[in-house]
Point group: none
Chain length 232, copies 2
DNA sequence: GGCTATAAATAACA
DNA sequence: TGTTATTTATAGCC
């Protein structure tokens, strides 16, 4: 009675897998491709359903970079970058280096503010070509403060960096002389030509303040349909 | 016989929905929360399974920003932005670090020059109050170049510093404990008040691809966990 | 924040 | 790549 339908039992279907690195290379690549598409699709749906703005950057183990963004990846990244003062560092208070870094962080906020003011002045100046030719508040003697501050900060930053580097070198020596393991691959990054193609509109008014946590390891999720991908 | 179990038919289960903006606000928020978690989880799995590096930034319709990154969101963004590989830094400390520093020094000369120009402009502007009200060479689009370059340099310097610091911390840990780990630090959430306004349409996405050489360091995947999220 | 029943994503194959 | 059997993600509720 049911003999006419022994057609396809072709596959055994999806199997449960453990979330750990896939050793088989081709398998890994296939999984990467499929899941990347899935991730982008999910992201896309999230955007459409909730009006959220999402930016995703994926670097494959190989040499490719895939990106997704709605409504515009650059704006999102920019907003993130701006909002999260990236030049503050979490320091280990117990070390001298940590103390210096803290000092730096402190100063950074101040300088960043100056920089903003400086930028605003620029805007005003540009936006007033041939018009407000009188003297303005930004023409006060204090005028160069922002720039000078900035320069000062720059110098300080350089100094700090030098120390950090020296410190790193010290530790490097320390490490090399004692134990040695931790071999990661080494491959030099040459540069690239990121080529960007973009299409997009925006769809919301936004004001945001950001907060992060992230830093190393963590894992997030995936999203929507296809968007770009390819290599350049 | 089967009368004792007509208990649970509590829900009718998942229903198919159309991918379009959810009008009901509370529904939208719930969906946002659930799907954001799902997205991050997917991303996490992608990272673990394939060794990919993923960064995600999500701005809710409200004012919140959620970010995910493995192994480090800032590096990934930075790499995307600059198109250069920064994680090979992990590979060979000496070479890589040295190269980066050199690169920065190289760039530094250029930026310093810009800074000088910037200062000169300031002088000119100040010294020409109420006079040269027309448009001048510094009113060109290139006008902000100096400042922007400087800012760019600053960012880049910060990035380098961060890496150096992380590297230092890494070595510190390495020295203190022999096993691997994953706890560097960085990441500060400062706030500011970025106020952005976008207007536009509805569902467009952005895709971009880039390519770079070298492969990133494989970070030990110890499982991931969930990471945070919250508002500010 | 939990629970199900169902829609979707996807691992193993071809 | 495309197909299918299953595993997952989740929409609708509490």
């Amino acid at each position: 009675m049911n003999n006419m339908m022994m057609k396809k039992k072709t596959t055994q279907g999806r199997k449960k897998i453990e979330i750990k690195k896939i050793d088989n290379i081709s398998n890994r690549q296939v999984t990467f491709s499929k899941r990347r598409v899935g991730l982008f699709k999910k992201a896309s749906e999230l955007c459409i359903l909730t009006g959220a703005q999402v930016a995703i950057i994926v670097h494959s183990l190989g040499k490719r970079v895939f990106a997704f963004g709605h409504p515009n990846i650059d704006d999102i990244i920019s907003r993130y970058t701006t909002g999260s003062s990236s030049s503050s560092f979490v320091a280990d208070q117990n070390t001298q280096l940590g103390a210096e870094i803290q000092e730096h962080n402190k100063h950074y906020a101040k300088v960043l503010k100056e920089l903003e003011i400086e930028k605003k002045r620029k805007e005003i100046i540009e936006g007033s070509k041939g018009v407000n030719c009188g003297s303005f508040w930004w023409d006060e003697p204090i005028d160069n403060m922002g720039l000078e501050e900035l320069e000062q900060y720059k110098a300080s930053l350089e100094e700090l960096m030098k120390k950090v580097i020296m410190r790193a070198d010290d530790m490097m020596l320390l490490k090399n002389s004692s134990s040695n393991n931790l071999g990661f691959n080494n491959n030099i990054g040459a540069d690239i030509n990121p080529s960007v193609a973009n299409v997009g509109c925006d769809d919301m008014f936004f004001t945001s303040t950001a907060e992060y946590y992230g830093n190393n390891s963590m894992v997030p999720y995936n999203g929507f349909e296809d968007f770009g991908n390819q290599q350049v």
